[in-house]
Amino acid sequence: SKLTVTKTLEFPLFVNANQKDYIRARSKRREVRLKTINSVKEINLD
């Protein structure tokens, strides 16, 4: 596929979205994480 030239990109780079969309989705991830924060995984070293 033919490409035309892009000189610079700035990160974070939002694609097909704006920062507000991202913040909404990120807060959903944060909720999910916080739910599991106090769970404990028991490891048996035997």
């Binding site: 596929s1 490409l3 780079l13 939002f14 097909n16 979205a17 991202y22 404990v40 995984k41």
Partner: protein, 158 residues
């Protein structure tokens, strides 16, 4: 004028992710005939909103299979949104080293989903000498879990 590797990479990223939204049925045109792709497996009751940290992936080999994949999943593919954190690249390929290895990291989401952390690796194969035309030979989307639970070692029974 010859484009730098960075210019090719940045242009590629805009073409690839832009086409997902604007023209997903033409995604497969970006790939070589024998390309290998590891992407999201939308089958089997796919659901991104039930608290899972990583999404299942599927491996596709060959342009025809890749074309079928993007056409089958057009609704999900065209709604993909991204926050790209970083983009690293290196020259690769044979003696001429005019292929490009790209690693993109960031978070991926849909209109009504949480974010999913990912790293995506591409290999671009130069198909013209003037460094102006490329096709994707490899595309690996990999999700990164971020669990937080505490690990506790159970004492051995005496």
């Amino acid at each position: 004028m010859v484009a730098s590797t960075q210019e090719v990479v940045y242009t590629f990223l805009q073409t690839y992710y832009g086409r997902m939204k604007n023209d997903p049925t033409r995604m497969s045109n970006l790939y070589s005939t024998t390309a290998e792709v590891t992407h999201i497996n939308y089958q089997h009751g796919f659901n991104y909103d039930d608290g899972k940290e990583v999404l299942p992936t599927i491996k596709l080999i060959g342009k025809e299979n890749i074309n079928g994949f993007f056409k089958r999943n057009i609704d999900k593919v065209s709604d993909i949104k991204l926050m790209i954190n970083s983009c690293d690249f290196q020259n690769t390929g044979g003696v001429s080293r005019d292929d490009i290895l790209i690693i993109v990291t960031g978070e991926l989401f849909w209109s009504d989903s949480p974010t999913f952390k990912f790293a995506q690796t591409f290999v671009l194969n130069s198909i013209s000498n003037n460094y102006k035309s490329f096709e994707i030979t490899n595309d690996v989307l990999k999700f990164i879990p971020d669990s937080l639970e505490e690990y506790v070692i159970i004492p051995k029974k005496v």
